[in-house]
């Protein structure tokens, strides 16, 4: 229990630090976003805007009251963010939460599906390759895995969109679902969502599963040589039990840190993929914000991507304690 609490506390701390850092980035850097915003307003409004009026507008958009002392600004900013108020988007002329909020589930849908697909397919394939070690299948799959592992997701995405999207016209080249459909729990809509999501998900999953397969293969071969496995066989345990409880479990455990890093990679990759497929998720808005010089929207998107990722990693971390009982004890004993 205290393990879970400690873990949740750390996740909260992460979010707190990231939000504080984003305040620092916006507020304290000379020539940073805040100064840019001011210059933009002066340019737009000409000389009829008084300084107080500009400050008031900046405060409305970024939650930062420029004429207050820094610590007051900081407290205001933090409380606003934790209440879910990310300020006003300049480009879209509505609240940042209103722009990004609806985009979150779409990004989570893409990344979670891609991660799940890549992991399950990769782990099963890797286990099978280890089982058939040295066969043509093993050598061939290792080669394919190496090539896929050396290909960035956006390259696959560009190839997909060029061939399957434009050339063969098999898949849509943008959007989240066909625009004539009404969102809701109806079959045509859900089918359209899957149809539009196929290429983005595949381009993230295809490049990742090779890596999982290769590390699963390596780990399984290592575990197969361990003494405890020989003992398990001598004890006459059923093959199924050996394969799942002994080999699979011990081979997957070392990949857990990799899984957590992969959550980050997939969220980062989604930023590029969403832009290639014009898929309005958080990453799409992040780049829109940067191109439009819309700093409230940019910081809001960044904070929300971080929160989504922190949640993903916390969940992964908590299940690790369940898979590997040793983790709960921690290695915090003794020092040299």
């Amino acid at each position: 229990m205290s393990y879970v609490l400690k873990r949740l506390g750390r996740s909260f701390l992460t979010i707190f630090v990231v939000v504080s850092a984003s305040f620092g980035l916006i507020r304290l850097l000379p020539g940073g976003p805040l100064d840019y915003l001011r210059a933009q307003m002066i340019q737009q409004g000409g000389s009829d805007l008084s300084t107080a009026e500009i400050n008031r507008r900046i405060a409305a958009q970024t939650n930062i009251a420029v004429d207050e002392p820094v610590y007051v600004q900081y407290i205001d900013y933090m409380t606003a963010i934790f209440r879910g108020d990310f300020g006003q988007s300049i480009w879209y002329d509505q609240s940042v939460a209103g722009v990004i909020g609806p985009a979150i589930p779409w990004t989570v849908f893409l990344t979670a599906t891609a991660l799940f697909l890549a992991f399950t397919v990769g782990v099963s394939l890797g286990a099978f390759m280890a089982y058939k070690e040295g066969s043509t299948f093993d050598v061939g799959s290792t080669g394919v895995g190496l090539v896929l592992n050396s290909t960035p997701g956006y390259v696959v995405a560009l190839l997909f969109i060029a061939f399957l999207g434009y050339r063969l016209q098999l898949f849509p080249t943008g959007g989240r679902y066909a625009s004539e459909l009404t969102p809701g729990l109806n079959v045509p809509f859900l089918a359209s969502v899957l149809y539009h999501g196929t290429l983005p998900i595949l381009s993230m999953a295809i490049v990742a599963f090779g890596g999982w397969a290769l590390s699963m293969r390596g780990n399984s071969i290592r575990v197969l040589g361990e003494d405890y496995l020989r003992v398990a066989r001598l004890r006459g345990l059923p093959t199924r039990r050996i394969a799942l409880r002994y080999v699979a479990r011990n081979a997957i455990l070392p990949m857990y840190t990799g899984l957590m890093i992969a959550i980050g990679t997939v969220f980062g990759g989604a930023v590029i993929i969403e832009n290639i497929f014009a898929y309005p998720g958080i990453g799409f808005y992040l780049i829109q914000a940067i191109n439009a010089r819309d700093s409230p929207l940019m910081m809001g998107a960044f904070i929300l991507i971080t929160v989504a990722m922190v949640i993903g990693i916390t969940v992964a971390d908590l299940t690790y304690g369940w898979l590997d009982p040793r983790a709960k004890g921690g290695a915090s004993r003794e020092s040299y």
Binding site: T14, G31, V147, S150, V155, Y336
Partner: protein, 326 residues
């Protein structure tokens, strides 16, 4: 005369010592690498790119508009082997002239990550206690921040210029955290091994133990990570240049892809597709070469394999090939 006072019967001259050092430190690893086809292929690829980045720009003319006809396809003419862009720029010139800054970027990012990750991971794992929990809290926070979005935001907020070394570091800004975590958990198991305990009892200083007993054990892992980071820098930087969110002052593979898609519609029009394809192939081949090299170079750090390839070390160890049957 007691055992302790006995001197070695043979003494080596300086020249002999130098020769042995050369054999063990340089020639043996080279032989190991050459022995494995993957490492050999990887090495060839990496050396080719290094040459491309160092002497390549001297032989290939600088890219500029109207070097040739517009949108010549790839592999059609000897003059423009990789084709030309919509403004008649030679694609081969662009790729070659983009290589030097790419190499700087890759090296900067990979070195930054590996040095910081190893230092923090070893310190936390070996020291344990308070040091460990403080360092790991910082590491965990850094690890849970999404890397590429952080790079994008920092690049925008800090108004960095196009210096490739700075961009390389920026792209791997929090990648050290993952490495530090992994290194720490390996150090946690190594620090209790008998030989480390023996060194501790003999009163060796902590830095000596870390450098002599701990780090060598981590070298395979660190090399693998160096290569993974190099690949991450390539993928990340090209991706972000492709999106057009990083500043640049010279041509870059990602900038080429961006131009191909945005100026010539390379995804929808077949006549411009080679403009997009060539930089993509450049990235894949380099990444593949790095991966292969890492896979083969792994064996350099296996002391048994090393001894077998060193002429100056008497072999006779019981290293039997791992057959994998049980």
């Amino acid at each position: 005369m007691s055992e302790f006072e006995r001197m070695a019967e043979v003494s080596m001259t300086n020249a002999e010592r130098r020769r042995q050092w050369l054999d063990e430190a340089v020639l043996a690893p080279a032989r190991i690498v050459w022995d494995d086809w993957r490492a050999r292929a990887g090495l060839l690829v990496v050396v080719t790119y290094l040459l491309l980045g160092t002497v390549g720009p001297l032989f290939v003319s600088e890219p500029k508009p109207n070097q040739g006809p517009l949108l010549v396809g790839a592999f059609r003419t000897l003059e423009y082997p990789l084709g030309t862009t919509a403004s008649g720029t030679n694609i081969l010139s662009q790729i070659v002239h983009a290589t030097p800054s790419m190499l700087v970027m890759i090296t900067a990012g990979a070195v930054f990550t590996v040095v910081l990750g190893t230092a923090i991971g070893t310190l936390a794992g070996y020291k344990g206690g308070q040091t460990d929990s403080v360092l790991m809290t910082v590491t965990d926070i850094m690890m849970t921040v999404p890397g590429l979005p952080l790079t994008i935001v920092l690049a925008t907020a800090l108004q960095i210029k196009g210096n490739p070394a700075v961009i390389g570091v920026l792209i791997t800004i929090n990648a050290w955290a993952g490495l530090a975590r992994a290194i720490r958990s390996q150090v946690l198991t190594i620090r209790d091994d008998e030989y480390v305990e023996a060194s501790r009892i003999m009163g060796m200083s902590t830095p000596t133990i870390v450098a002599g007993d701990i780090i060598p054990n981590l070298m395979p892992y660190i090399t693998m990570n160096f290569v993974q980071q190099a690949r991450a820098v390539i993928f990340g930087s090209v991706g972000l240049y492709f999106l057009g969110v990083l500043p640049y002052n010279k041509v870059n593979w990602g900038v080429m892809m961006n131009a191909a898609v945005n100026r010539a519609g390379a995804t929808s029009s077949p006549s411009a597709f080679h403009w997009l394809l060539m930089p993509m192939l450049t990235i894949i081949v380099l990444a593949l070469g790095l991966t292969l090299l890492a896979q083969g170079a792994d064996r350099i750090f296996n002391p048994r394999v090393r001894a077998r390839h060193a002429k100056s070390v008497a072999s006779g160890d019981g290293d039997t090939p791992n057959t994998g049957d049980i």
